[in-house]
């Protein structure tokens, strides 16, 4: 497959849609813009219905006979269960404020990628099936019947939304397309219409505890490989423990960081940080059973999210820890912050999180009992508990990408910035309208980080990349920091495509590079094996 060149993508973008009524333009499922259909084995493994091989490009999707009935019933059920969904179906005035806020619209110019249009795809059927006006007036009232083409249009466009919630920031009623996309995807799953990049990680996670399907022994081996790597670069031998009863804290982080660069360096960072704090009283264990922070169940259904998420509390309970520490991940933190306690709580078998090093009570996590590593590290640095040599990061000119979910589903803005500013000397913000609550998605979130939809990903990532390019050109920024494992997996590709010369790092990797470990040898390289500033030859 030959991917289009950057300039070819740019040339295609036109923000002025044709004036042809959108209902009259049928969907065209285009290669490079969609993800492959779910593997029936994965669907079956977690007991979801209508597992079968099917191909989005084929005319026949092999839907169950009564698929319309299933959709109608599922729609009704979700209207009854989620006030958000019901209200959002009813109150949009189509003011258009959200239109050019979506990275997919900005990057493709496809008018159906305007959040309001995306929602209207569903709303048109809602009006037809559930409102009096729609039933009587039909198309005049913006209603249309559910047909196979409509379903395909839904599928195509609800897998072109990364649930990043940027539109909801600008909507005067807070209409959140993520919420609408979540409902649409729940309905797809009742028809066996998931994408494989979500379905298989879900099945893996259910079975092995992580998306990548790493089995317990392999998980341990992979971390032990990092241990050797760390020893090689720092001279310090760290000693992680696994599934250990008697630990005070359970640490959970996305498995992506165990598996692929540059996330691996962030994983090494965790190991070093925990080792460093061990003498000061940190007693932490990893788990192979709960070895996944991320939750692709969130992109499947609320139920699947709950099923996968349950492992965190279950494991914390089994091991008898006091509280849980969570690594750098995006949607993982939306799930933890806004869903976990409600779904799988109350966590009354845990204690209110207290930092064993500083004594700080994390009152903001007193019910869920799970603390973000950025909160944890910011507190350590604030209390002067980390010996930092900032100059080791002097080769970096860093900017920070607020990952969508910790930004708009939690409000984690200043903790990571505080950490970055304390471990490196050169920090530059991207333009105001592209950071913090207005941050742009990497373009590959919510399970769209597959290989076959590369064009979609590059389009969706354009606004983010473009803001990076701005600080790259202006300040010479060469490092993009983030707190999300999907970011770490996809941003390097995105940077390579739009802004060559910018690399991607996690927060903890930068901390670990600057961390002066007791008993370390002279550090000459960073965790990536690149020479530290002043050590180049």
């Amino acid at each position: 497959m030959s991917d289009p060149k950057p300039n070819e993508l740019i040339e295609k973008i036109d923000y002025n849609p044709s004036q042809k009524g959108w209902m009259d333009v049928p969907v065209e499922i285009r290669k490079g813009m969609y993800c492959y259909a779910s593997n029936p084995k994965s669907v079956e493994y977690v007991g979801l219905p209508h597992a079968r091989p099917w191909n989005p490009l084929e005319e026949d999707w092999k839907l169950p006979e009564n698929w319309k009935e299933i959709v109608h019933k599922a729609f009704r059920e979700r209207l009854d269960r989620f006030r958000s969904f019901k209200v959002f179906m009813d109150i949009c005035v189509r003011c258009g404020a959200c239109a050019d806020k979506c990275h997919f619209f900005i990057g493709t110019g496809d008018p159906k990628n305007m959040p309001v249009s995306r929602a209207e795809l569903l709303r048109s059927v809602y009006r037809n099936d559930f409102t009096t006006a729609g039933k009587i007036l039909g198309k005049v009232a913006g209603a249309r019947e559910l047909t196979l083409d409509v379903l395909k249009e839904w599928w195509y466009y609800f897998f072109q939304c990364t649930e990043c919630r940027r539109c909801s920031v600008f909507c005067p009623y807070g209409i959140d397309t993520a919420e609408i996309t979540i409902m649409a995807r729940e309905i797809f799953n009742l028809l066996g219409l998931n994408i494989d990049w979500i379905a298989t990680p879900v099945a893996n996670c259910y079975r092995t505890g992580n998306h990548l399907g790493i089995q317990p022994h392999a998980f341990k081996e992979m971390l032990e490989f990092f241990v050797d790597d760390i020893e090689e670069k720092t001279g310090v031998k760290v000693e992680p423990s696994f599934n250990r009863k008697g630990a005070d804290i359970l640490f959970v982080t996305p498995s992506g960081d165990v598996f692929a660069d540059p996330g691996t360096y962030t994983a090494m960072g965790y190991l070093m940080l925990f080792h460093y704090l061990k003498e000061q009283g940190l007693n932490v264990t990893w788990s192979t059973y709960a070895s996944e922070g991320g939750n692709f169940g969130f992109f499947t259904s609320h139920e699947m999210m709950k099923r996968l998420n349950s492992k965190m509390y279950a494991e914390a309970k089994r091991l008898g820890v006091k509280w849980i520490l969570g690594g750098e991940c995006g949607h993982m933190w939306r799930v933890i912050h806004q869903y976990m306690d409600t779904m799988n709580g109350p966590a009354d078998f845990l204690e209110e999180p207290v930092s064993p090093i500083t004594g700080t009570k994390f009152e903001n996590a007193k019910s869920t009992k799970m603390v973000h590593i950025a909160e944890f590290m910011a507190d350590l640095i604030y209390h002067g508990k980390l010996k930092i040599d900032k100059s080791r990061n002097d080769n970096l000119k860093v900017t920070y990408h607020d990952s969508c979910n910790p930004a708009r589903g939690m409000g984690l803005f200043d903790e990571p910035r505080y950490v970055i500013k304390n471990v490196c000397n050169n920090f530059y913000e991207m333009p105001r309208n592209t950071i913090r609550e207005q941050t742009f998605c990497c373009g590959s979130g919510s399970g769209l980080n597959a290989g076959e939809d590369m064009e979609l990903r590059m389009c969706g990532g354009l606004p983010r990349a473009n803001a990076v390019k701005y600080v790259h050109d202006k300040y010479g920024v060469n490092m993009l920091a983030c707190v999300c494992a999907i970011d770490r997996a996809v941003l390097p590709v995105l940077m390579e495509y739009w802004v060559p010369g910018v690399d991607v790092t996690g927060l903890t990797e930068m901390v670990a590079n600057a961390l002066v470990m007791p008993g370390e040898m002279e550090r000459t390289t960073n965790l990536r094996g690149e020479p530290l500033p002043g050590m180049e030859e």
Partner: protein, 135 residues
């Protein structure tokens, strides 16, 4: 779920709705069912004797403010003081000397309706309600 038909956040939702209804009901409550017919136009003997105003009654009802406004412009800016009515009668363009000559009962004739319709003409800022004081 739907079968139990429960109202969630009942307290807040009902409070909001009650507030909504109370605000809407304001005019109904405020008047507490008292009808408020428009005040009768009380004419002085002199006005009755004149039979007709400078223009027909219906026209005067909706246009008197416009006539007065035109008169003011005409008198103050152009120095023209004579108004010729549609029935070819001539009148001195003067609120105090023409209008209030017949309608000398300002409180009854003017104010009642003005108050009823919540109209506060600034005519009375200068033309104090004592007619003929300078004749």
């Amino acid at each position: 779920m739907s079968e139990e038909k429960k109202i969630y956040d009942k307290g807040k939702v009902l409070t909001g709705l009650i507030l909504f209804v109370v605000i809407l009901a304001f005019p109904f409550l405020y008047n507490s069912g008292k009808a408020a017919p428009a005040p009768d136009r009380i004419l002085t003997e002199k006005a009755k004797a004149a039979k007709e105003c400078i223009e027909p009654k219906a026209f005067m009802k909706s246009e008197h403010m416009q006539i007065l406004n035109d008169w003011r412009g005409s008198v103050v800016r152009d120095g023209k003081r004579i108004y010729v009515s549609s029935s070819d009668k001539e009148f001195d363009m003067s609120l105090s000397n023409t209008c209030l000559d017949c309608h000398s009962n300002k409180a009854d004739f003017c104010d009642k309706c003005h108050n009823y319709a919540s109209v506060n003409p600034y005519c009375w800022d200068c033309h104090i309600d004592k007619p003929k004081e300078n004749k």
